[in-house]
């Protein structure tokens, strides 16, 4: 522990910000972020925006460019009403996983807040985006802007050509299936030879102005070969192989195999699922992403303060904001609305630093690999790079932290009239609580598992979906039926959704 020896004049004194001051603060932050913490970031592009522009960004899921859809207008109207009436504040910043890394800072922020926000977003989030394996493997930070521009123009062109209503119908349906439009485990299957041929035919047919509709369907594809087809190829097993079933990515399946969609409609499905896939890693790493950014800003503002680069007043303002952000109300507090990802992520990362620097015997027993590691920065960078929320909690949630948060598990068995406290923060409960909490962040568990299991294009063309039910949790019914109506529109024929108990499913 070193005491503060202010050696330099503060970077800024007033609360008003200017571009020169921002530049100065950014340079000071960068020195610590890269030099001390060893972060590796995309070049930053920091944009100052007004409240209205922030609302714009809100409504378009935080993306800088988005195609037009009524639901974004609805979100804007709602957020605007909440903001105008003071029921909801706006975020200080929004950051986009792109190269260069764009962050939007609100013009209303004070200079102290701008400094905090830069450390948080332009270095914390930025490092996480660039280094976490999920983002590296599943998102294309270089190409996202071009893709968004393409999507916006493409959908605008479709509206021009086919009418706003026709496009809206497809977008509504695609949005309803957005969460079922991602590959969770495997890469998209490589196009088979048939599909490549089909694409080729499609292009040719398109060029010669013939109807391309049916060429996609395997029925038409197989026409010339029908005679030689064996039973194995036409049967269920053959279909499964050819159409990559079972398929968890319903939008992908519809895009490839729907018998009724036109090429532009397929392209719209593709756009929606590409964006869903791009945003999917962010859903999987809320705790880690916010934890990383919060840890980084906390470390940086303390370092700046230690160097005397920020005044006492500004430091207090940042700390006040930081404390609000990482506040975790207890379960019986009226403000409680689930576990705060900022609080949990930040606490876990601080805990890792503690385990490296001042391990207790308990830490040595639980974390032999990192306890006492002299390079806590390296340990953290490794964690940021190689985990997602679920595995991070499973790996790093310590008994110390479970006690600090006084975590307990509440078991809700629908056959019992009452809820039971099944685990508390004692020796017997640590592992179970850690496992339960980790599962709470496992998207594969909290999102319903629905897969396309069969579609006989030569038969009755019914699309069969299977929902694998775990722990007796079924889909919410009224919205399920509405989604199925959308699905029917995209498939063109009957759609059946069967619920199968997990233990019975093959």
């Amino acid at each position: 522990m070193q005491t503060a020896h202010p050696t330099a004049a503060p970077l800024f004194t007033g609360s008003e910000w200017t571009f020169e001051l921002l530049e100065k603060a950014r340079d000071a932050i960068e020195k610590i972020a890269l030099g001390d913490l060893g972060l590796d970031v995309y070049p930053n592009q920091i944009e100052i925006i007004s409240a209205e522009q922030m609302l714009d960004a809100y409504s378009c899921v935080g993306l800088p460019l988005m195609y037009q859809h009524w639901s974004f207008g609805k979100h804007f109207a709602r957020d605007e009403a909440l903001y105008r009436t003071g029921r909801q504040g706006l975020a200080y910043e929004i950051v986009i996983n792109s190269n260069p890394c764009i962050s939007y800072n609100m013009e209303e922020n004070t200079m102290a807040m701008q400094t905090l926000v830069m450390a948080h977003a332009a270095f914390g989030h930025n490092h996480f985006f660039k280094n976490n394996y999920l983002f590296q493997q599943w998102t294309d930070a270089e190409g996202i802007h071009d893709y968004l521009a393409f999507a916006k123009n493409y959908i605008a062109a479709c509206e021009e050509r086919y009418g706003v209503d026709a496009v809206e119908e497809i977008l509504d349906a695609a949005h309803a299936l957005q969460a079922q439009g991602v590959f969770r485990y495997g890469r998209p299957p490589k196009p088979t030879i048939e599909e490549r041929k089909a694409m080729q035919q499609l292009r040719e047919a398109y060029e010669t102005g013939q109807s391309a509709l049916d060429i996609w369907t395997d029925a038409t594809l197989g026409l010339s070969r029908d005679a030689e087809m064996t039973e194995a190829e036409t049967g269920h097993a053959g279909r499964r192989k050819k159409m990559n079933m079972p398929q968890e990515n319903i939008l992908y399946f519809l895009e490839k195999h729907s018998p009724v969609l036109e090429p532009w409609q397929r392209e719209i499905l593709r756009i929606v699922r590409m964006l869903a896939q791009y945003l999917y890693p962010q859903k999987q790493t809320k705790v880690m992403n916010e934890g990383c950014a919060t840890f980084v800003h906390y470390h940086i503002i303390n370092a700046l303060h230690d160097q005397g680069l920020i005044s006492q007043g500004a430091f207090m303002e940042m700390m006040h904001s930081h404390t609000n952000v990482v506040m975790q109300p207890e379960y019986d507090d009226p403000r409680y609305s689930g576990i705060n990802p900022y609080a949990l992520g930040f606490a876990m990362m601080q805990d890792i630093q503690r385990i490296c620097e001042n391990p207790t015997d308990e830490d040595r027993e639980w974390f032999p690999a990192i306890a006492g590691d002299p390079d806590w920065r390296g340990v953290l960078r490794n964690a940021w790079a190689n985990y997602r929320d679920e595995s991070f909690i499973q790996q790093f949630l310590s008994p110390h932290l479970i006690r600090k948060f006084k975590l307990f598990t509440l078991t809700d068995n629908e056959t019992h009239p009452q809820l039971v406290i099944s685990q508390i923060h004692n020796r017997a409960g640590y592992k179970a609580i850690r496992r339960d909490l980790a599962r709470q962040y496992d998207l594969a568990y909290i999102e319903p598992d629905i897969q396309v299991t069969d579609a006989d294009l030569k038969g009755d063309r019914t699309l069969k979906l299977t929902h694998t039910v775990r722990d007796n949790v079924y889909l919410a019914e009224d919205e399920r039926d509405e989604v199925l109506r959308h699905l029917r529109r995209l498939w063109g024929y009957d759609v059946k959704l069967a619920a199968v108990e997990a233990s019975l499913a093959g």
């Binding site: 530049e23 299936l177 019986d332 039971v420 079924y474």
Partner: protein
């Protein structure tokens, strides 16, 4: 590398397209609420629709974004923070409204509410309020609109007056030409001059320096010559904005508000009349570029007054309706030539009139006013109890009966009875709904 970009000055309304799509989607619901709000609205001073818009609440049905997610029920485990004194095996009652304590099962769009509140801007509000209404165009006037000559931008030319010089285009051409013709920059000229000055400033120059001086001087001359020949801006570079004259049809309208202010017209009657005038004015403001209002009140004589006096000043006296019509005629002749102005008349009264003045009113209307008016509306304000009058258009006093004859003869004359604020908007709509031409 630029680190900071100031986006605050970017064009506003990036999500306007989304907004329009949203309003389009919710149109039916919004319309119903807007209609209701105008009916219930009490009209204070001035405008009834606030400048900064109107908050409305519509049912969320039809604006749902359905998703597949887990419903309530089943076997779950929640990890919660802040254990106080629970030990393993303790039981607690199931919280009411399902076991959503973990908060993870909420619908994704987060608004499971039945209602959706947001703010309509003034323009959107009026647009929806007057949706589907049209100006009556039964009388095709020779010139409904007046024409004036305006100007319109028409691209660029190479000749023009200096005040129309397009700097950006001119400088772009200039830069291109200078690069192409390799015009020496001011900087290179100054450098040479400095060098020469330095050499000349030396006390004693070596022969090589002398030679260099000569070379430099020649070079400088060359540069100066070239700079003179290849000008910074050449007449070739010049581009001028051009404007072409254009006929602009500008439409103007004047609304005459005529009201009986004799003793029998109380606050209630005036309020109803005001609502009607206000709607008419709002509507016409949207249809014409320029709208004026003329207020004429009458007892047994008519005066032109300002809005304040019109609605709030008290007056006593008898009732002679024709005086107001004469006044209107007089004002039209005086200030609003009918070939330049679209003239609208709106008259409110409680239906009483003096002696056989009503016949005179009918004559005035059919012979003098209606030929120059686009539209004339008469609203008779009756007692709330007078259901009989509301139901039966044939019953009525002298004025009503005479006006019925006017209506029979002129298609752009409308008359209605009202007794409650809620009647105003429906009859207003009725007046302006597009009519099938017979």
């Amino acid at each position: 590398m630029h680190h900071f970009i100031d986006r605050r000055a970017n064009p506003k309304g990036k999500s306007l397209g989304n907004r329009q799509r949203f309003l389009r989607r919710a149109r039916e619901n919004i319309k119903e609420r807007v209609d209701r709000s105008i009916r219930e609205k009490s009209i204070g001073k001035g405008e009834s629709v606030p400048e900064n818009g109107e908050e409305i609440t519509i049912p969320a049905k039809g604006l749902k974004e359905p998703r597949l997610y887990h419903g309530p029920g089943g076997n779950r485990r929640y990890v919660l923070p802040g254990n106080k004194d629970f030990v393993v095996g303790d039981t607690v009652d199931r919280p009411r409204g399902g076991a959503g304590e973990g908060g993870r099962e909420a619908s994704e769009d987060g608004d499971g509410d039945d209602e959706f509140s947001f703010t309509l801007t003034r323009d959107e509000y009026l647009e929806i309020l007057f949706d589907g209404l049209e100006l009556p165009d039964l009388v095709e006037k020779a010139t409904v609109e007046t024409e004036t000559i305006g100007t319109r931008r028409a691209g660029l030319t190479t000749a023009g007056t200096p005040n129309n010089l397009n700097l950006v285009r001119t400088m772009r051409n200039s830069l291109g030409r200078r690069i192409a013709l390799q015009r020496p920059s001011t900087k290179s000229q100054r450098e040479l001059e400095d060098q020469i000055e330095e050499l000349e400033g030396l006390e004693a120059r070596s022969p090589s320096q002398d030679d260099l001086l000569v070379v430099l001087k020649t070079k400088l001359e060359g540069i100066i010559r070239k700079r003179r020949v290849v000008g910074y801006i050449d007449p070739l570079d010049l581009r001028f904005d051009t404007y072409v004259p254009e006929k602009i049809r500008n439409s103007r309208a004047v609304v005459f508000c005529l009201m009986d202010v004799s003793g029998s017209m109380q606050e209630r009657e005036k309020d109803l009349a005001k609502r009607f005038f206000l709607l008419l004015h709002l509507f016409l403001t949207r249809c014409y570029e320029h709208t004026e209002l003329v207020f004429v009140r009458h007892t047994h004589y008519a005066q032109e007054v300002d809005e304040e006096t019109f609605f709030y000043a008290r007056e006593t006296g008898g009732t002679i309706v024709s005086t107001a019509l004469e006044k209107m005629k007089e004002i039209i002749d005086d200030r609003y030539p009918s070939d330049e102005w679209n003239i609208y008349g709106a008259q409110a009264s409680d239906g009483e009139n003096f002696g056989n003045d009503s016949v005179r009113c009918r004559k005035l209307l059919t012979e003098e006013l209606l030929p120059v008016c686009q539209f004339y509306a008469y609203v008779e304000i009756v007692e709330e109890a007078a259901q009989m009058l509301l139901d039966n258009a044939e019953v009525g006093e002298d004025l009503w009966q005479n006006y019925r004859q006017v209506k029979a003869a002129a298609a752009h004359f409308e008359m209605q009875r009202v007794s409650q604020p809620s009647h105003i908007y429906p009859i207003f709509r009725e007046f302006f709904l597009p009519k099938v031409k017979g």
